[in-house]
Symmetry: C2
Subunit: 158 residues, 2 copies
Amino acid sequence: MRDNVGMRISARADYAVRAALQLASSGDGGPLKAEAIADAQDIPHKFLESILNDMRRGGLVVSQRGGNGGYRLAKPADAISIADVIRVVEGPLVSVRGVRPPELSYSGPAESLLPLWIALRSNVRQILEGVSLADVASSQLPAGVAALADAPKAWVNP
Amino acid sequence: MRDNVGMRISARADYAVRAALQLASSGDGGPLKAEAIADAQDIPHKFLESILNDMRRGGLVVSQRGGNGGYRLAKPADAISIADVIRVVEGPLVSVRGVRPPELSYSGPAESLLPLWIALRSNVRQILEGVSLADVASSQLPAGVAALADAPKAWVNP
DNA sequence: CTCTTTTCCTACAGACTTACTAGGAAAGGC
DNA sequence: GCCTTTCCTAGTAAGTCTGTAGGAAAAGAG
């Protein structure tokens, strides 16, 4: 039985964003330990560790070992977008058959498929790059996004 | 090395759309054989067969066996959207951790994540449901989509 | 009825991805 | 030295993705 594809947010990406939000909302009471985040957001501890590691390598968080170490955001929460987080843990936001749209080539009646994928990607970017960790953590989504989410139609499954 | 997730259009979905476009553009010179489509679009023949089968079960195409059989669209090309095609071969357009957004529950600073995913999904739908096979086959994308695709920024990788 | 064509169905296989878990080494503070 | 917490390598069970193989069932032509 085939299931869900299309815009798939994996567990890894979902966890990454939630962890980042937890860090964003911790204001500045020192760094947060992986385990504290794991408990707060109900994420498997060791799995989260590897995600936080990706985020550190990607320059999104900084870490401190030992006694009262932990993680904190490397930049202000309003300077990190959801797209930043997803890209750091999973690579490109949009891909077709494993490659990014500009590398594709279509022929015949499928020629205009490329512009379509490009438009789609641009649209997804617009949303995910336009929303910061601070926006979500404070429940203040940008007007355009909030408008989309408020339409009742948006909540019903097709 | 982790790679591409996010909005992933699988080979299966890409092939399905291209096959449907080929059918759309064949006007009405009788049904098209699977092999003819496979050749025209450079899709593995047997793989395409199973995709066309999904599309038949989903009511998108009708088939005819024997002598000069083949496939044709079950509805006019301007009554089938790209979203229809993708959904028939891959299920829901957008999912988070394998489930559809409305089934999720977030807590703490992640509470506003749900509206964000909903907004994202609504946006993706708007595009993919708003473009028909006829639009793509005739290279006449709807104004809003064409505008997105025409922005030079949309074509550069981040 | 037989032959050819083409769809339809089932089964499988190899490579890859996903979501984890285990165990310990390295660093930092007391 | 000791305790904590990050950091690193490895592995694994289950699933998905992209196909292939082989044949049975239908439709029409002769």
